[in-house]
Symmetry: C2
Subunit: 120 residues, 2 copies
DNA sequence: ATATCATATGAACAGATGTTCAAATGAAAG
DNA sequence: CTTTCATTTGAACATCTGTTCATATGATAT
């Protein structure tokens, strides 16, 4: 009844009201979905993917990563900051240099999933 | 020798030359890493994540999705185009309406991985 | 202290991205 | 054919994002 009335009100946009309310109940809350998108957004940049891939192999300092990727040390530092904020990498200081490494194995798994999807 | 010379040439940026060349060999090619980033970039938007999540439950037409997400039908259509191009969703026509659904189970797995990472 | 080196940071700029609006398909019904 | 409805499309616009450049930390060595 409600839905039928709305359908006649002018917009006339609702085709399957029952389906809509059913799906609506099973949706995670807005915030969770936002956080999820935000997580993937971090992986959605070549430079950051490369940095993470490099750290697959070994912990490494900023200038080494910059050299490896043929990029400015500043650019790398900015991106490491993003990765740090998302808890995807961690770091330790040793004198003047700072060594970065993967925060945990989730990074490997997620990137692995992506690779699998591509290779098909 | 080579590396030492370069270190003294001026920039003085290379700290661990051996590590660099070792890691360099194990890196996937540029294009693969770019595609990988591109794939994740698709997941890195709230609207697209929501659309995918909705399609977890059932195939659905454009105006239903728009209604469900409280968004313009045009905005949804634009995003479905992106998802279509990335082969993440497929569609079938039935008269005037077009029904979209997930292309395969990889989408579920990848989003599942992201969720797992968040819930820790 | 001063110099040097590794890294971080802030402002600025160019390029990418998402939504909106208006208009165009494309299929069914009158 | 014309109308209606679901969807697509293109241009315009505002916002976001990544890199660069110049400068600031912060630690070591002289």
């Amino acid at each position: 009844m409600d839905e039928q009335e709305r359908m006649e009100q002018g917009t006339g946009e609702i085709l399957h009201p029952d389906l809509i309310s059913s799906v609506n109940q099973d949706m995670p809350d807005e915030e969770m979905l936002y956080d999820l998108a935000e997580l993937f957004r971090i992986f959605g940049d070549s430079t950051r993917i490369k940095i993470l891939y490099v750290l697959f192999e070994a912990e490494m300092c900023v200038c080494d990563i910059a050299e490896l990727l043929h990029m400015t040390q500043s650019a790398i530092s900015h991106q490491l900051r993003v990765l740090k904020q998302s808890k995807l990498v961690k770091f330790r200081r040793e004198g003047k240099t700072i060594y970065y490494s993967l925060a945990d194995d989730h990074v490997r798994t997620i990137i692995g999933m992506g690779m699998e999807h591509l290779c098909e």
